[in-house]
């Protein structure tokens, strides 16, 4: 009896194991063959496949998947309607799939259709992630800055209040002392004025001079330098998400970086290569859709801008020189909002041209100059190739 029930248990386990094996196979097959056009719970290129096993019987599905064109041509009403509904897009023939493979795929779809909890949980999870994203930065940096500024102001005011009180007290004390010692008040007043001039006035002048100097130098040095500039863009695009988490290459969207002077701001069609599917409902993505529908382009705010009198070329630096994007633009893949990392001043350019070693050997671009310079220099920097000539950048 006991061994009998054990056998049954074992059999059930084996069967269960086989069942999950089959479903796993189905998942792999579904991913390899179907996901380019189909999803279970949403319409992609083709219809959503949820409950497809309830809509059509297995024999019809087998026939349609193996050769949909033949089914449509045979005049099957359901197939023809489907074909017309989806802009006459034809599903390719999957004649190389075995019946078992297709059944495994249907099994996988069935399993997915009957798991409503996951579908309901998905948007909730998405919402949570969104909320986390919004709150993730803690207090906004602007609020923090002004809060600290106000606090500093209050503290400095307190210092002056204390000085004010001390002066009053000292004055009172002296007057009292003078009265006790019977010193004429006139001379006391004079000496007090002197005191005030000597200490307080000097202190005030000293502070004013330091503050003025600090202000002038900082302001003068920052003229035309946009380091740290992080404007609010029309779409809250996160480089941290795209280049960091999703590991999309910079060049995937900034297509000009290896071919031209500018790296290029991606046009909406590049966004749409993914966002025709991903997060279509997001209000930020909807701005893209609106731009495409109305023809009014998204007005991104330019962050890195070199003055008109200096020539800079991305291709020369990235393709020829092999400079990584991050060397100038900083940790872009960690920036929720992009800011200008480098000062982009002439001193900064020159500094790099002095230090940067050029790899002449693996680069056809430098073939001629390599022949010329062979054996003359130990280390070849950009400077040695004329990288400090005025006319290299200013012409």
């Amino acid at each position: 009896m006991k061994s009998g029930s054990r056998l049954i248990l074992l059999l059930t386990l084996v069967l269960l194991g086989m069942n999950t094996l089959k479903a796993a196979d189905g998942a792999a097959l579904f991913k390899a063959n179907c996901t380019a056009c189909h999803a279970v719970d949403k319409q992609v290129v083709g219809p959503a496949l949820k409950d497809v096993h309830k809509r059509r019987d297995e024999a019809w599905l087998l026939k349609f998947i193996k050769n949909s064109t033949a089914v449509i041509n045979s005049g099957d009403k359901y197939a023809v309607d489907l074909y017309n509904k989806y802009n006459k897009t034809q599903m390719p023939a999957f004649d190389y799939l075995q019946d078992e493979d297709i059944k495994a795929i249907i099994g996988y779809i069935k399993e997915k259709s009957e798991a409503p909890a996951e579908v309901a949980a998905a948007p909730a999870a998405g919402g949570d992630a969104g909320a986390e994203n919004n709150g993730g930065g803690g207090i906004p940096s602007a609020t923090l800055f002004w809060g600290l500024a106000a606090l500093t102001g209050v503290l400095i005011l307190i210092i002056f209040l204390l000085i004010f009180i001390t002066t009053l007290l000292v004055n009172a004390l002296r007057e009292k002392e003078a009265r006790e010692k019977n010193v004429p008040t006139e001379s006391l007043k004079q000496s007090m004025n002197l005191m005030k001039n000597k200490f307080v006035a000097t202190a005030i002048v000293f502070i004013l001079v330091i503050a003025g100097f600090n202000y002038t130098v900082k302001t003068a040095r920052a003229v035309g330098v946009h380091q740290g500039y992080a404007p609010v863009q029309p779409i809250a695009f996160s480089h941290k998400l795209h280049a960091g988490t999703n590991q999309i290459q910079c060049q995937t969207c900034h297509t000009g970086v290896e071919k031209s002077k500018s790296a290029n701001i991606p046009s909406t069609n590049i966004c749409m290569n993914c966002h025709s599917y991903v997060k279509k409902e997001s209000p930020e993505i909807q701005k893209l859709y609106k731009a495409i529908e109305t023809g009014v382009p998204v007005e991104w705010i330019r962050i890195h801008n070199l003055p008109d009198f200096v020539y800079f070329n991305h291709q020369q630096h990235v393709k020829v020189g092999g400079v990584e994007c991050q060397e100038c633009h900083g940790p872009i893949e960690e920036m929720e909002v992009v800011y200008q990392h480098s000062p982009l001043t002439m001193g900064w350019c020159i500094d790099c041209h002095r230090k940067k070693e050029v790899d002449l050997k693996k680069n056809d671009y430098y073939l001629k100059i390599h022949e010329k310079m062979k054996g003359t220099e130990e280390v070849i920097t950009v400077e040695k190739l004329g990288g400090l000539e005025c006319a290299k950048c200013h012409y």
Partner: protein
């Protein structure tokens, strides 16, 4: 006594002013680019396609960035002319008729070049080795494409690949604006090595 109070008020006043100056010195509003001396030297007077301060009076839509005139081809870009339409019939036709140009050979150097371009544009979904395991697909943020060495794609002719890169295929969008014709063929040379693996 009156005079003293007044002068103390003066201290307070000057203190306040210097506080403001101190703060002014280190103020950091990072949503503004800051002070510019002679801004007309920073912002191109010539019409720069990627930087625009005001509407361009010479173009219809006010944009500096102008689209090429319809039915014109830039010099040296004849290969942008693609005679096949975005239809299933022309997909088949491209597969049968379109051949890789002679100057894009199957040498190791070309394949390596193709791989470099492939890594920039394709690998994020298709994966470095074309096994449909790119970071976005692995994170299940975008559905998986078929692997290049799968039964469905291992014998796919080069012409069909070129057609798919140009117009897009299924969920994949068009890469015509990102990848130049010669680059597309180089990518295909690399993919052909992936089909055989």
């Amino acid at each position: 006594m009156k005079f003293k109070v007044l002068s103390s008020l003066n201290i307070l006043l000057t203190g306040g002013v210097s506080t403001l100056l101190f703060l002014g010195g280190c103020a950091g509003d990072n949503t503004s680019p800051g002070i510019e001396y002679a801004p007309d030297m920073y912002h191109s007077v010539a019409y720069d396609p990627l930087s625009q301060m005001e509407a361009n009076p010479h173009t219809k839509d006010g944009k500096n960035l102008i689209e090429p005139v319809k039915n014109t081809i830039a010099r040296g870009q004849l290969d942008y002319v693609y005679p096949y339409a975005n239809t299933p019939e022309d997909y088949e036709r491209a597969g049968n008729e379109l051949k890789i140009p002679a100057d894009i050979d199957s040498s190791e150097a070309t394949v390596a070049e193709g791989k470099a371009i492939y890594l920039n544009y394709c690998a994020v979904c298709h994966g470095e080795n074309g096994m449909a395991d790119g970071p976005i697909v692995a994170a299940e943020k975008f559905p998986a494409p078929p692997a290049y060495n799968s039964d469905r794609l291992k014998n796919l002719p080069a012409g069909k690949m070129y057609h798919s890169i140009t117009y897009g295929k299924n969920l994949m969008g068009s890469y015509a604006s990102q990848v130049a014709p010669k680059e597309r063929w180089k990518i295909i040379r690399y993919i052909q090595t992936l089909q055989k693996q």
